[in-house]
């Protein structure tokens, strides 16, 4: 049995972590009252945030698993303050982690754009890598592009620092790409959180289950070591008449992926896990479809989990050699940085305006 550590940092990381815990309970609103979490492995979850209200909003993560960085009410998306704050609270966070025992793998979930998540994740991953031997993978959520210049520049620097933190792989999820989930912003966020949670739980099951065709943590590490260090996850669910080939293709299509990617052109390595009743899982069809993928990108690990009576589901993990969407993000981020610089310049002008007011310094109105 694997020992898994999942850390959710900042508002986005906290919500995805809470969604993972909720799905582990079974997904029902009241499931935490009557059900036990059904993780296939020993899973420890930790939520870290500087904003106590974000921690209080969590419903399915136990209070003892929530760490509030004291004397703060959020960082206001300021990564400089955030990194300094992490340094000051590093010992407390690492002590909490070390008290939870030994782990075989860790996932750090955060957004790339906010304050706490984007500024805490890279140094935390670096600390984990320095202190422990287990692989640390990060799951990073990219912002809506129209959310603002600060978020864009935060994302650019966060991803860069994440790469430099010696993480064993960055799995990307893109809000911009996923906003077609529908509904209002809150519904979209909830939907995205649930999508990420479902995929993470499926992935944990794939790493720690008895399977007809086996994939394990080593396979996952090999896949994540490929490409440019970025990866994404695809997922598709078939019904009892959908051919398994179609379900595999759906998991690799934009409708199934968390990040916009042309799998067949940008993919480097992949791991495909299939789950469902044996009658839906034709080995020939599976091999045929996976061979097609491997002929484009190279090596593809495949695993099959037999679940009697279940319709087929497919999880695909793909590392990317290149990603056009990331280029686009960085282009926007550079523009954002320039815009922020311009704003700074305009602030200097405002200071001149302030000098006008200095003319009445020392005077009092006469009536």
């Amino acid at each position: 049995m694997l020992n898994v550590l999942i850390i959710g940092i900042g508002q986005c990381g906290n919500r995805i972590l809470d969604s993972i815990n909720k799905e582990a309970f079974g997904g029902g609103k009241l499931s935490k009252y009557y059900s036990r979490q059904k993780f296939p492995s020993r899973v420890e979850t930790i939520a870290i945030n500087t904003a106590i209200n974000d921690l209080k909003e969590m419903r399915y993560t136990k209070a003892k698993d929530r760490i509030h960085i004291p004397n703060l009410h959020g960082l206001g998306a300021n990564r400089i303050v955030g990194k300094q704050c992490f340094i000051e609270n590093n010992d407390m966070i690492m002590r909490n982690i070390s008290e939870r025992g030994e782990f075989d793998v860790a996932f750090v979930i955060s957004s790339s754009s906010g304050g706490t998540g984007s500024s805490f994740s890279p140094p935390l991953i670096k600390e984990l890598k320095n202190k422990y031997d287990f692989p640390v993978f990060s799951i990073v959520v990219l912002p809506f592009r129209e959310e603002g210049t600060i978020y864009l520049q935060n994302s650019a620097f966060c991803l860069k620092e994440m790469r430099e933190s010696e993480t064993d792989g960055i799995i990307l999820a893109d809000n911009q790409f996923l906003k077609n989930v529908g509904g209002n912003i809150q519904t979209a966020y909830d939907g995205i959180n649930k999508m990420v949670a479902e995929r993470v739980l499926f992935l944990l099951e794939a790493l720690d289950s008895e399977m007809m065709m086996v994939t394990d943590l080593g396979d996952f590490k090999t896949v994540m070591a490929g490409g440019a260090g970025f990866a994404t996850i695809g997922f598709a669910k078939g019904d009892n008449i959908t051919p398994i080939k179609t379900v595999i293709r759906d998991s690799l299509s934009p409708s199934g992926l968390l990040f916009s990617s042309n799998v067949y052109e940008e993919g480097s390595r992949a791991m495909i896990i299939l789950r469902g009743d044996r009658k839906y899982l034709s080995i020939d069809d599976i091999s045929s479809e996976i061979d097609k993928l491997s002929s484009h990108i190279g090596h593809v690990f495949k695993g099959v989990i037999i679940r009697n009576g279940e319709t087929p589901q497919v999880l695909s993990v793909l590392t990317l050699e290149t990603t056009a969407e990331l280029d686009n993000l960085y282009t926007l981020a550079v523009e954002a940085i320039h815009m922020e610089k311009e704003k700074r310049s305009r602030m200097a002008i405002r200071k001149e305006a302030d000098a006008i007011f200095s003319k009445i310094d020392g005077l009092e109105p006469e009536y």
């Binding site: 935490k32 009252y33 106590i52 921690l55 969590m58 419903r59 993560t61 136990k62 209070a63 929530r66």
Partner: protein
Amino acid sequence: MKSNRIIIHSILFLYLIILFMGVTSAADNTFDEKIYEGDGYQINNYFIEVSDITIFSEKLMLEITIYQLKPDGSYEELTTSTTITKDKRRVKYQSGSVEIIVNEKNLTSQYTIVDITTAGIVIEYETAVDGGVSNANYIGEPFLTLTKEVDKSNVEIGDIIRVTIKAKNDGNGIAKRISIDQGFTPGFTFKSNIYATYPTELDIDSSFTQMFIYEIEATNSGTFSLSPATASYSSSVFDDDYSSTSNSPSVTVAGEAVETSEIDIEVRADKTKIKRGEKITFTIHVENLKDGPASTIRIDPIIPGSMTYVSGSEDIDIISEKPVIQESVYGAKYEKDYKITLKADEIGYNELIVKLTYNNGTGTVNKEITSDSFYVGKGEFDFLAEYPIYIYVVPVLIIVAIAGWLYWRRSQFRM
């Protein structure tokens, strides 16, 4: 000298008279009786029986026996001596001063004629008896039962009451020399004798005999027990005096008419059937029917044990946890309603008893009235109590356990 002779002759004459009287009183009673064989003659409790007349050697033989009768019905044959002079028999019994002598005068084969002479006996009873000593009756002590009756027992001052005194001899001896004291009572005045002739002697087992009828007039108010009549009497068979006393009839004499009050009381319930736990309200209606005032009124509603007092009119006080109505005066024709509300605690039939006490001007009057019966049925939720306790305990425990679990679980997820 001549006058001395007259005095001496007078004294001698008186002496002879006294001597003659003394001989007479010393005894002798003589009976000339014809008695058949087997019959007899009773004198007081002595019995002379012609026991047998037989012919022996063509001569008639006579056997006479003298008996002493006993109170228990038995008799004793007395020792006698028999002498025969000129074929005539003489039977003699003597004990102390008592002497009985029977002289045969004539004798046939069926009867004899005898002279019976007694001495030392005051004859109270003498009679011929058919059938001999076994048919004789013992003459014992008399006992008079005396009654005193009045024709009215409730009268007013000035009314006349007729009193009758009767007597009956319930003893076994004749009552003689009867005298009666009528027993007059203070508070009454003798008016007139209606009938005063009574026998000086009463036989055994006589029916009641009117001895006195007289009238008295009530002069004072109150309740009186008339003084009993007393009869004094005697029996010479036994040298004792006796007396009997009558009953004392009660007579109530009302005083002058006083203006009084009379309170009428009613109790009405607003329902005839309620459920357990529900309330029922009674109206106690009181009314002074007369022109005189009633005072010191107290009304006590007696709450049934299966009910609880809830509330009542403001005139109702709670004394020792019981409702009590106390009023000083009800004027003439005064009416009032009091309300009292009770709650039913138990199932069953109930009624409200109300006790009323008041002074009507002449004394204390007590009344008690009971409401119509009303039924208390099962309460709305009584069926719940019909189930065993675990029916409630188990779900409660489950709910508590679930609530505890939810609270504990929620606390795990609250920050």
